[in-house]
């Protein structure tokens, strides 16, 4: 039987895995949500990593809260989920840098606040972050 390949990645490393009738293709469900978030090939996989970590159901619920939103392809939800993961990584990295500048080892809301202030790209967050950034 012919075989095809699936590429699995964790963002840094890639494994190319052959899918054939002799191995099993399974869809795993993210434990935090109810949607199949990725495909994992057993037996031949050296590294089994999820393609998307955020549960698609949660991402979809967020999208639906927009009154303009009606329909989206599954691909759109997948990409938005991945983009959100990259967004978290990006803010975390920058806020972590600011934390180090303060010579501290625990990330605080003030680091997140400063990160947002410094980046004009994050202006869309203005006004929406007050309740989580207000220091008690």
């Amino acid at each position: 039987m012919s075989s095809d390949t699936v590429v699995v990645t964790d963002g840094e490393n890639q494994s190319t895995i052959e899918v054939s009738d002799s191995n099993v293709t399974e869809v795993l469900f993210d434990s935090e949500g109810l949607d199949p978030a990725e495909v994992v090939v057993e037996e031949h996989a050296e590294k089994q990593e999820k393609l998307i970590q955020f549960p698609l159901s949660r991402v979809r619920a967020l999208m639906k809260s927009d009154p303009e939103f009606q329909l989206a392809s599954k691909e759109a939800v997948v990409i938005i989920a991945k983009a959100a993961e990259k967004f978290v990584a990006s803010i975390s990295e920058e806020a972590g840098r600011l934390m180090q500048q303060r010579k501290k080892k625990t990330l605080q809301p003030r680091d997140v606040a400063e990160c947002i202030q410094n980046d004009p790209n994050l202006e869309f967050l203005d006004g929406a972050m007050d309740e989580v950034l207000t220091v008690q």
Partner: protein, 149 residues
């Protein structure tokens, strides 16, 4: 029934990404994690709005993967695009592999199968599909298909 947790992203996953992105010796206060999680939720909302605008320009109600990629550029997050394109490609491959393995099993059982796509060309990937299972239903099945405004 909706509750507040429907409108944010899982804490455990946010934590995991946070820890990977920070210097190794760093800790994360719970409030900082909440702030970042909240920001990510706003990001999803903002991206959705932008992507809707892109699809509207094309006179479509359906938001596609390409609309989202365009939205990223419009939002000045172009640096995300290469990785997102990779993810999209891998996702498409995994979906195709899933279909082929179903075909193999179906052949063995001698049961006629219904293809989700007859011809696997690019446009078919943009068909609205339910994220829970393989049925060819639109995403907002709970409310049914909404009439155009």
């Amino acid at each position: 029934m909706a509750d507040a947790s429907d409108f944010k992203l899982p804490d455990s996953i946010v934590s995991r990404i946070l820890k990977r992105s920070m210097p190794e010796s760093g800790n994360v206060s719970k409030l900082a994690r909440t702030a970042i999680s909240h920001a990510a939720a706003i990001f999803v909302l903002y991206t959705t709005t932008q992507a809707c605008q892109v699809s509207s320009k094309h006179r479509r109600k359906l938001v596609t993967g390409d609309d989202v990629l365009q939205a990223m550029k419009d939002m000045d997050f172009s640096e995300f695009v290469p990785d997102l394109e990779d993810t999209l490609e891998q996702y498409r491959q995994s979906q195709a592999a899933k279909i082929r393995s179903k075909e193999v099993k179906a052949d063995e059982d001698s049961v006629p199968i219904e293809h989700e796509f007859e011809d696997h060309d690019e446009d078919d990937d943009e068909m609205p599909v339910d994220t829970e299972g393989d049925s060819e239903a639109v995403l907002d099945t709970e409310e049914g298909i909404e009439p155009s405004i």
